[in-house]
């Protein structure tokens, strides 16, 4: 049996016996990414609605920037957040660097443009259908954004899930601002990078399996959610 095969076996064993270290790492990953996505949804969905419905100077610039930021390199975001949070940075007094909070901030920055840009498109589509009727009933733009957010709720799930996929998959940002400290800021992706370089393939592959399963689950949910959205559309 080759090294890879035996490592794969022990990886499967780690996953199915719910190894304590493994579970802790998965738990922290989920906590960080879910929090980041919650923050991104709270900012990104209303921002997407505002960009779709409101007309203000600089609107097009913001849209272009958001679309560009969808592909931000995680390490650059990590570096920027690092500079903000480091002792000498503007938010250094809070002492957040190398904590899960710092990782949540970095991932929120990374994911918010994705949620905002994708949900803007959803709002644009719904607004073209709803505009005349809502204006006719006397709904202001703020009210209209709320109405659309509610009516488009199932169509807004895929943007948020896309953000979640991005958050769980990235390494660079959490590595830089979290520092990959054992039992404190070690998440799935940073562990895989570390254990692989250490030659501990079992742990790396175990986490890899979990990450892939998670990604599958997210994409299956996106599919189911968009099916449901299409169904409720008529």
């Amino acid at each position: 049996m080759s090294d890879v095969e035996s490592a794969l076996l022990s990886a499967v064993r780690l996953v199915f016996t719910l190894d304590r270290d493994l579970a802790e790492i998965i738990g922290l990953s989920m906590r960080v990414s879910l929090s980041a996505v919650a923050v991104a949804a709270l900012i990104g969905v209303p921002l997407g609605g505002a960009l779709a419905l409101l007309r203000f100077p600089g609107r097009k610039t913001v849209i272009v920037l958001l679309n560009a930021f969808m592909g931000l390199p995680p390490v650059v975001v990590g570096l920027a957040v690092y500079l903000m949070l480091s002792r000498l940075g503007p938010m250094g007094v809070f002492g957040l660097l190398y904590s899960p909070a710092a990782m949540i901030i970095a991932q929120s920055v990374l994911v918010t443009p994705i949620v905002a840009a994708l949900s803007r498109q959803v709002f644009v589509d719904f607004w073209s259908e709803y505009e005349d009727q809502l204006r006719s009933l006397g709904a202001g733009r703020g009210r209209a954004i709320l109405t659309l957010a509610w009516d488009a709720r199932s169509s807004l799930v895929p943007p948020v899930l896309a953000g979640f996929g991005r958050a769980t998959a990235e390494v660079g940002a959490v590595m830089i601002v979290g520092g990959n400290i054992d039992h404190v800021t070690r998440v799935m992706t940073t562990t895989i990078a570390l254990e692989t370089s250490k030659g501990n393939l079992a742990m790396a592959m175990g986490l890899g399996i979990v990450l892939v399963l998670l990604s599958l689950a997210v994409n299956a949910s996106v599919f189911i959610a968009s099916e449901a959205a299409a169904k409720s559309g008529r």
Partner: protein, 263 residues
């Protein structure tokens, strides 16, 4: 249906939004005056020098073939569009965004993704009406539109004819003084059309002024007190229904009344 003497034209008793002291007097918003209105899109002139006045009381039908500019005229009157030239005046005052006390029902009913009741309630909420009053008003319009059995259904699961009745009920629940309707029965079968015309008669009899567009000559004959005949973006005739159908003045109107294919 010409019973214009029944309706007070200057002051109507309309409950104010969120007004708990009982009904208050709201000045009537009619007459609606469209003065020298033209509408351009790009280099094309879609509406050309429209001049007419809409008064309370009568059931007004904007009649004309497809592409005559009926929908655009209604949107201009309602306030969704601004004229390129000219002005739209309500009781002599130029309209702002979408003026209050008048609502519109569109050709394709737009249902919110919620129940029939919630669709009707949405407009009432926007007016800041209290919950108890909302419930009473909803029960009332559901009954008028014959929608009681469908109240809890998802609005989008209904047939188009039923959706159109929900749209009319939603608009009428706001107790508008003027209700604009853009071909509300287009593409509907006779029974759905009859149901909608029944609702429209009830709305008219309640004292709400109806301005409705149609290209359907028999329907215009069934409903109209007054006809505005549009053709290629121009208003060719405004007269009482009897005069229009018996003695149309222009050759276009004559052709239309005789059922020739006009475009």
């Amino acid at each position: 249906m010409g019973r214009s003497d029944q309706y007070p034209s200057v002051l109507q008793t309309v409950p104010g939004p969120g007004d708990f002291r009982g009904p208050r007097m709201v000045p009537g918003i009619l007459p609606l005056e469209v003065r020298r209105v033209s509408l351009d899109m790009g280099s094309r002139r879609l509406l050309d020098d429209l001049n007419f006045t809409v008064k309370s009381g009568s059931f007004t039908i904007i009649l004309g073939p497809n592409g005559a500019g009926k929908s655009l005229t209604l949107r201009l009157c309602h306030g969704l569009l601004r004229p390129t030239v000219g002005e739209v005046l309500w009781r002599g005052i130029a309209a702002r965004e979408v003026p209050k006390h008048q609502t519109m029902v569109f050709q394709r009913p737009m249902m919110l993704r919620r129940s029939v009741t919630a669709n009707i309630e949405y407009g009432l909420r926007l007016q800041g009406m209290g919950r108890r009053q909302r419930r009473e008003r909803i029960a009332e319009v559901l009954k008028l539109a014959g929608l009681e059995a469908l109240a809890g259904r998802a609005a989008r699961s209904l047939s188009i004819g039923e959706q159109q009745r929900v749209a009319i009920a939603r608009a009428w629940a706001l107790r508008p003084q003027v209700l604009f309707l853009d071909e509300p029965a287009a593409n509907l079968d006779p029974s759905a059309t009859r149901a909608i015309e029944g609702v429209l008669r009830a709305v008219h009899n309640s004292g709400t002024k109806i301005v409705m567009s149609t290209h359907d000559l028999p329907q215009a004959k069934r409903l109209a007190d007054e006809i505005l005949f549009l053709h290629r973006g121009r208003l060719l005739e405004q007269s009482s229904a009897d005069t229009f159908f018996d003695n149309p003045v222009t050759t276009e109107a004559q052709a239309f009344v005789e059922g020739e294919l006009l475009w």
